[in-house]
Amino acid sequence: MDADATDPLPAEAGLARRIASAAPGVDRAAEAELCRRLAPRIRRYGLRHLRDAEAAADLVQIVLMKLLEKLRAGGLRDPDQVVSFVFGTCRLVVLDLRRGDIRRERLLEAYGEDLAIADIAPPPRLDQARVERCLQALPERERAVLVLTFHEDRDAGEVAGQLGLTAGNVRVIRHRALARLRDCVLGGEAA
């Protein structure tokens, strides 16, 4: 299972090849597997560039539908290019979504039941009660930096401006605070 963590491409290329060669039929198993693998990655791209869970979910659906259409039509000559096709499509669709060119209703109309294909696991969450205990246990400055940073995802420069520190200072405090928080939440060190 974790072999794909180090060498992911052959698996996706193999699935892409199966989907392409099944035409005019449809290899549902290969499609589902390819979507299962790619969906979390597209979602991460969407969360990072759209900063909105619903918009990121839309991105996943649209990009996967475009990919499957392309593969079924034999439009991707070299299946090794599946990831670069996904990358390029992500970029374009993010621009559309930012402009508000694509609305979820239109999406559902266009693709209907096919949308169920990308029925993927939700992103992982931490034990919130534990996060809160651990965050409360941090030194005051570290908690302040984390709150100022993540309340609206502000970069070190902006947080530094608010606190009268340098961006370098903020990065150092942020690093220490996140390391401590992570150890406390994920390690056994209950606060």
């Binding site: 965050l135 005051e140 100022l148 993540f150």
Partner: protein
């Protein structure tokens, strides 16, 4: 990024916060579409970020923050209940269901001060102490957002906050501030 193009934790944090230059960002965008290991590490960064955001937003933790951050909360539409106290002042205070945050703005002579500690006493007993809290020397304020969740649950009582400046020579009192807290609805 390190060998094999994998991204370290700090790089992923910088990526999430839009701190990378365009080229590094694009490279990592591409890598994350291929690499499940880095993707899971980014999931962890995002989960920690979301955890901090949720903890703060629902009032589970307190924070000493700069005034500019309070302005930002206000601009974002958060319902704030603000108490402003000079040294020696006391105030009748509460938190209502509609209040998102309570802001305790404590004025203090902060010019030249390097470190500020705060203690909270109730019924003459020290309940909490906060070391080396952020403060705004220019405006002469220490701004505390108490954990709203705990505040809502508190009974009607009186609390005294004491600020001290700390340096090599020891401690120097900056002010005490008294809060007569009334629990909403009794």
């Amino acid at each position: 990024m390190t060998n094999a193009g994998h991204a370290g934790f700090d790089t992923l944090v910088a990526y999430w916060l839009d701190e990378l230059d365009a080229e590094a960002e694009s490279r990592l965008d591409g890598h994350l579409l291929e690499c499940e290991a880095c993707g899971r590490a980014l999931d962890e960064v995002m989960a920690l970020a979301a955890g901090v955001r949720e903890a703060f937003t629902r009032g589970a933790v307190h924070a000493f923050v700069p005034e500019s951050f309070v302005k930002r909360l206000e601009a974002g539409g958060a319902a704030l209940r603000v108490y402003r106290l000079a040294p020696g002042d006391s105030v009748h205070c509460t938190i209502l269901p509609a209040d998102r945050f309570v802001v305790s703005r404590l004025e203090a002579p902060l010019a030249g001060v390097r470190r500020v500690d705060a203690t909270v006493e109730a019924q003459g007993q020290e309940r909490q102490s906060f070391r080396d809290v952020p403060f705004d020397a220019a405006s002469g304020t220490v701004t505390l957002l108490p954990a709203a969740e705990a505040l809502r649950a508190m009974p009607t009582h009186t609390e005294r906050v004491r600020l001290v400046a700390v340096d090599e020579g020891g401690e120097r009192e900056l002010g005490t501030y008294t809060f007569h807290h009334a629990r909403h609805g009794g």
